[in-house]
Amino acid sequence: MTITTRKRLFVMFGAALLAIFMLAVRELPEFGHYRGPYGDVLNRETVYERHVTDVVSAVNFDWRGIDTLGEESILFLSVVGTIVLLRTGDGETEHKDEQGTTSNDDIPLPSEATRVASLGLVGPLVVFGLYIVTHGHLTPGGGFQGGVVLATAPLLVYVAGDLKTFKRIANHEFVEITEALGIGGYLSSGFLGMVLGSAYLRNVLPLGTTGHLFSGGTILVLNVFTGAAVAAGMVSILYAFLEHTIEVRLRRKG
């Protein structure tokens, strides 16, 4: 089919789809009038049950911990998949890329302002990321959000033009090990519950006092593991995409 035929056909079918959706949506509760029991039960019980104040984190790492484990596995396997797909094959020739790299030569080094700003932000970002990861059970935050913030720190190093350092950080085996350890730690913490006679992912560590850093039992532990896994995973992906460009540019630099 040509694109025009497709457009015409899709306008028809898409309109029908949208119509069905709007018909359905008319029967939804009005926006802003959430009714269901599940959210209310969670809001009511979390502080009492688990001594944490951020219900969203508690939902992610305690009430529905297995969902988060599944999501983390998806992240882990995506990273593995990206690495597998971007690997240099045996038949790969370098010459094709030589043609495409002349334009790379013309890319100027980042300005002084960019360099100062980027490198200056690296430190605060790391601290901020660690703060978000570890305080996820008290205030909005957690492993996922903090992990992504942590992953931007090496990216800023790349933006600042410091390719050697970026390569040293990102290509290190440390990153891959952290990722595997992150998700491995999550898996193992779940087994703690089983070992102690209860179900998988049961929160068996001491719950502490509400509002303090060391509260929530396994929620804090899982937050940290998740943060490690997400940060390392994102850095791996970034490096897999940028690896080739970095190699070429470093070679050009001499």
Binding site: L18, F21, V25, F31, R44, T82, L85, G142
Partner: protein, 114 residues
Amino acid sequence: MSILPYAVAGWLFIIGLYGIVTSRNFIHLVMCLAVLQSSTYVLLLSVGYRVGGGPPVFATAPVGTPAVDPLVHALVLTDIVVEATVVALLLSLAIRIHKNTGNLEPDKIVELRG
């Protein structure tokens, strides 16, 4: 209008599909898929909203203060991060296509047919 957020979600989904149908570049196609993904986030978040409700964090507010539904927030936040990595996987497929064939047009790569 009380169904506006839901309509936005539906529209995003259709627009994402339209983008995929008429795409001339694989990178554009994968980004349209990301738009499609975000339509589900919009729907989930709007379903859980409560007028006058605060965030489901009880650090300063006592338990019992009206708050929005925490569940959809939990679902969406993990989804966003994870689907970013899925988009990365698809983009790496697009990169591979470019490396192997030199072009990125979906309609020009027809090795499998019939």
